[in-house]
Every structure is written in structure tokens, then in C-alpha cells.
């Protein structure tokens, strides 16, 4: 197929409806390198306010890389390099004078593997509050966060217990509680259900739908059904092996239903109909 990329204007056109969408994050990524390896190219993508944006695509398509570049998580990898802009509330978070630590305090993240700290459930949730020198009522905020993460009833009697003693699904909800306790503006979720069983997955999905009332959420998923269940907007990435490398790029994006039912691109059609993965 011929590469018919979503140009910036095309990208905007798909998302611009009667009411112009509001973006919490808008990213125009030209290139992402790991050393000499070109991992992602030409991807313009936004995280809409109060909505869930899903990133789907075959493995190696760069969807996680793109997500992680939205809060500068990739800075942990020394050879990472990004060309382009990622705007968060009017500031380019890759500008020289921006502190990546601050960025991550406003843009929270939930990871593929549940990763609670080896401390009590309470301390896990209170971690970010203490970090940000929260002056309010700590107990209340911890409880509120755990309630919003749908975990309160299961752990209210054992808040002192180590977070690692919980089941995988509970651990992931604990991580969500930890992330939302500091009321970030955006929540990024990197395949948050991939390590969970179906029941735990359903609980987390319901949670996401509730969270979008307060947060702008972006979620990477390898599961198309999950994208259809939770995402308002879906972005489809694919991988280009034509030049001998494996470079991910954004193929198209749009309202989830539209993307799945009437994809504009041939490649998208093949992917959503399960012809390759």
C-alpha cells in the first residue's frame, strides 16, 4: 500500500467536530530515536480533555514509546532522543528549561506491570502526597483515592499491610490510586491490563470510564476489544519495515466507532478486521 500518512491537518480534521476538541496534551512527534535506531516517525496525536484516547497497533509499532514520551518517562533511557514538540497546557515539555520531574507530577502514569512500592498500602497512596508536601488531610485523600480506584472496600482493614501482598489486579488498582492521589491533569496508562486476568481487567476498565470524568486519559492496549470498550478516540499505529528498520508511525485516528467501522486506511481495515496483528 502507499503510505498515506495522517498529516497534521488530516489528523485535526478527524477529531475536529462541531465543538473543537480541547487537548490536554498535543504532540507532534517527527522522530524518536534510540541511539541510531529510528523507533517512531511522523505521529501527531493529542490527548483530549475528559476523554479516553486509546493507542492500538501491532507489537513494535511504537505506541508505548509514544505514550511514554508524553511525560518524559523515556528520559530514563540515556540513548532516547525526540524530535518534535509535545505540548502540555501551552508548554513544550521538551523545551530546554523544563524539568522532567515537574512534568511527571502533572502527567501521571500507570504501567504494564503493577509496580507498587515495597511499603504499606497506605504509604503507597500517600507517597505522591508526601512528595508534593500535601498540606490537607492525608487520611482523607488516601481514602478518596482508594475509593476512586475501587479498592477501598478490599483494603480498608489492612492499610498497614505491604502493597506487594495484594493480588495482581489489586496491585494495579493500588497503582492507579497512587497515581490519581495527587490529582494529575492527565493519566497515561501503558497496557494496564496486560498482566491481569479477565475479571480484574473488567474492574480496571470500569474504573477508567469513571476516571475520565476528572482526568484526561491515554491508554495503550494490545487488545482491540478493550479499545472499543473504553476509548472515545482511538489512534492506530503501525510499523514500517520498508527501509530495513522497524519504525512505528501513526496511521490514522478518529472517534473509536468510526475508526473501527469505517476506517479510512486500508491498513487500518486489515488490522481491525484481524487480518494481521
Amino acid at each position: 500500500m502507499t503510505t498515506n500518512l495522517s498529516t497534521p491537518s488530516a489528523a485535526a480534521a478527524t477529531t475536529a467536530g462541531a465543538n473543537a476538541p480541547q487537548y490536554a496534551i498535543s504532540a507532534a512527534i517527527d522522530k524518536i530515536y534510540y541511539g541510531d535506531f529510528l523507533a517512531v516517525r511522523d505521529s501527531v496525536i493529542g490527548v483530549e480533555k475528559g476523554k479516553i484516547t486509546g493507542f492500538i497497533g501491532p507489537s513494535g509499532c511504537g505506541k508505548s514509546t509514544v505514550l511514554r514520551s508524553l511525560n518524559r518517562m523515556n528520559d530514563l533511557i540515556p540513548i532516547f532522543r525526540l524530535e518534535g514538540r509535545v505540548d502540555f497546557m501551552g508548554q513544550d515539555i521538551y523545551a530546554k528549561d523544563i524539568d522532567p520531574v515537574s512534568v511527571r507530577r502533572h502527567i501521571g502514569m500507570v504501567f504494564q506491570q503493577p509496580n507498587p512500592f515495597s511499603m504499606s498500602i497506605y504509604e503507597n497512596v500517600a507517597f505522591g502526597l508526601r512528595l508534593n508536601r500535601y498540606k490537607g488531610n492525608m487520611d482523607e485523600q488516601v481514602e478518596r483515592s482508594l475509593r476512586r480506584a475501587g479498592l477501598w472496600n478490599e483494603v480498608k482493614d489492612k492499610l498497614k499491610q505491604n502493597g506487594l501482598a495484594l493480588s495482581g489486579g489489586q496491585q494495579q488498582r493500588l497503582c492507579i490510586a497512587r497515581a490519581i492521589a495527587i490529582e494529575p491533569t492527565v493519566l497515561l496508562m501503558d497496557e494496564p491490563c496486560s498482566a491481569l486476568d479477565p475479571i480484574a481487567t473488567r474492574i480496571v476498565e470500569e474504573l477508567m470510564l469513571e476516571l475520565k470524568q476528572d482526568y484526561s486519559v491515554a491508554i495503550v492496549t494490545h487488545n482491540m476489544q478493550q479499545a472499543q470498550r473504553v476509548a472515545d478516540i482511538t489512534a492506530f499505529f503501525s510499523v514500517d519495515v520498508s527501509k530495513g528498520g522497524r519504525t512505528g508511525y501513526l496511521v490514522e485516528k478518529g472517534p473509536t466507532k468510526e475508526l473501527f467501522d469505517h476506517p479510512r486506511e486500508q491498513l487500518t481495515r486489515e488490522y481491525v478486521s484481524g487480518q494481521f496483528s
Partner: protein, 299 residues
């Protein structure tokens, strides 16, 4: 790009734009810089002793380095010159005896722990005992061999010294052998077992050749630390001012020579102590470097 300024003005209205600018004066950043500076300083300070020791060895010990040191006997009190040829031989002989005893037992034990019965209660006990012995004060090994061997034989001896060094080496050889044997991929063992090898054949034909570099690392480390040992020798080999003639008489060693001479009021002896230290450290370093070379060859 259409979705930039206009959208963000709306977004900004909803929530105050946080400042994410990097500020050096901000407490958390300031603290980070100070802490980073501190760990750098600490690491540099911690490196000073090593370089100071090496400097002294080369400047003090190297000044006296000559062929005589290796061919002559330790001088008496006011005598000039002399060397420590007998101490070098004593150290080498006792380390040799120690190796002859500890290496076979250590490797066999390592094979038991790593390949024959890794999860048995016995293995767990042996492993635990090995770890406890690793941290065991070497002087108590000397006291033990004194009680068990020196008293029975009625004399301090190179043999007793060698046994004491063997006990010191054993846990190192045992535990590193086990580690190396455990690193051998299961699929390789499976291949040997699947073709009808007995356990022994699997160990000899597949496990040991693969684990050899790792085992050698442990052996070299064991030898390096045994060569530098002094406390156990004080109770087992003691010292001698003469050439070694039999394994059942008091025997000189470099480390005890350094200990004896360091407390003497004679500059000649002090110089010899430094030279002996240089030779001893060189012996230890050679085996230490060998262990690293073997270690690097591990896959």
C-alpha cells in the same frame, strides 16, 4: 498544526498552567545537587586508602627490591641485608597444601549442591554452613587447627598451616563452584540426560566443562585470600628463620614475617617488611587478576 494555541488557551483557562521550569534554587533540585556532590566526594575519599597503600608499597617496598630478598634468610636483630626467601617458599607451600585439600572437596561439594541434589535439606544446610564459614574469623580457624592438629603432632608445621588455609578457602571454592554449576543452562543438562548419561557422566561431560571458568574464578579468589592470610598461620605454622626442610616443622610465611618485623625497632627489618608486603600484594593481585580474567570469560 491546527490544534495548538487556540486549544491550549481553553485548556489553560480550566486549570492554572503549572510552571514546570527547571529551577536550580528550588529546594528539591538544590538538595539533589548537594547529595550528588557528596556521593562523588565519598567515593573519591574511599579510593584514597587503596592508592595510599599502593604508593607506600611501591615507594617503600620497591626501594629495597633486589635479588637477595628472594635468596637470603631473614636477618637477625642488628644485622644489615638479608631477605625472606624462606618466607616466600613457606607461603607458596602452605597455599599449595591448602589448595590441594580445599579445591577437590570444594568442587565436589559444589557439584552436590549445584547438580546432584540442589533442593534437598542437606544441601540447604551445607549452603548455610558455607555462608556462615565465609564470615568466620580466620583466627578461630587457627585456634581450631592448633587444638586439633598442632597439639596432637606436638609441633607447629607447614602441614597444619596448609590445613588452616584450606579451611579458609573451602567456603569460597564451594559456594562459587555451586554458583557456576547452577549457571549451566538446564537445556544442556537435559540434552545429556536425554541421551542416556548417568548423573556422573552428565556432570563430567557437560556440567563441569561449561562451569569451569566460574569454578576457576572461585579457586583463584580462594588462593588470593589464602596467600594473604596471617592470623591462622600464627597458631599453626608459627615462623622460622631457616629454610623449609620438612612439612612438620615450624614454617615461615610472608605475612607472619611482616607482622614480626613491623614491630621491630630496626630500620632494616621495617624495610624488609615493606618489601615483603610488596611481594605478598603482588602474589595476591596476580591471583585476583586471574580470577577476573576467568570471570570475564564466563558467558
Amino acid at each position: 498544526m491546527t490544534m495548538t494555541t487556540a486549544d491550549f488557551s481553553q485548556a489553560a483557562a480550566a486549570k492554572a498552567v503549572p510552571s514546570m521550569r527547571r529551577s536550580f534554587a528550588e529546594p528539591r533540585n538544590l538538595r539533589s545537587y548537594l547529595l550528588t556532590l557528596s556521593v562523588w566526594l565519598i567515593a573519591i575519599i574511599a579510593s584514597v586508602p587503596l592508592f595510599s597503600v599502593l604508593y607506600m608499597l611501591i615507594s617503600q617496598g620497591g626501594a629495597r627490591l633486589s635479588f637477595d630478598l628472594f635468596t637470603q634468610l631473614p636477618p637477625a636483630g642488628f644485622m644489615p641485608g638479608g631477605g625472606f626467601g624462606n618466607a616466600i617458599i613457606g607461603t607458596l607451600v602452605m597455599v599449595g597444601i591448602g589448595s590441594l585439600i580445599s579445591i577437590p572437596i570444594g568442587i565436589l561439594g559444589g557439584i552436590y549442591l549445584g547438580a546432584i541434589s540442589p533442593d534437598s535439606k542437606l544441601s540447604e544446610t551445607v549452603r548455610f554452613v558455607g555462608k556462615v564459614l565465609t564470615g568466620f574469623p580466620s583466627i578461630l580457624v587457627g585456634v581450631f587447627v592448633f587444638g586439633a592438629l598442632v597439639q596432637a603432632m606436638g609441633t607447629f608445621s607447614a602441614l597444619a598451616g596448609g590445613v588452616a588455609l584450606a579451611i579458609g578457602m573451602l567456603p569460597t571454592v564451594l559456594l562459587t563452584s555451586e554458583q557456576a554449576i547452577r549457571m549451566v543452562p538446564q537445556r544442556m543438562k537435559d540434552a545429556a540426560v536425554g541421551i542416556g548419561c548417568t548423573t556422573t557422566q552428565t556432570v563430567w561431560k557437560v556440567v563441569l566443562p561449561t562451569a569451569l571458568p566460574g569454578i576457576m574464578t572461585g579457586i583463584m579468589l580462594g588462593i588470593a585470600s589464602a596467600a594473604g592470610e596471617s592470623a591462622p598461620l600464627l597458631f599453626t605454622a608459627l615462623f622460622s628463620n631457616f629454610w623449609l626442610e620438612s612439612l612438620v616443622e615450624p614454617t615461615a610465611s610472608l605475612s607472619i614475617l611482616i607482622y614480626n618485623f613491623s614491630g621491630m625497632p630496626f630500620p632494616n627489618q621495617i624495610q624488609l617488611a615493606w618489601s615483603a608486603s610488596l611481594v605478598l600484594v603482588l602474589i595476591v593481585l596476580v591471583f585476583n587478576i586471574l580470577s577476573r580474567l576467568f570471570g570475564n570469560r564466563k558467558v
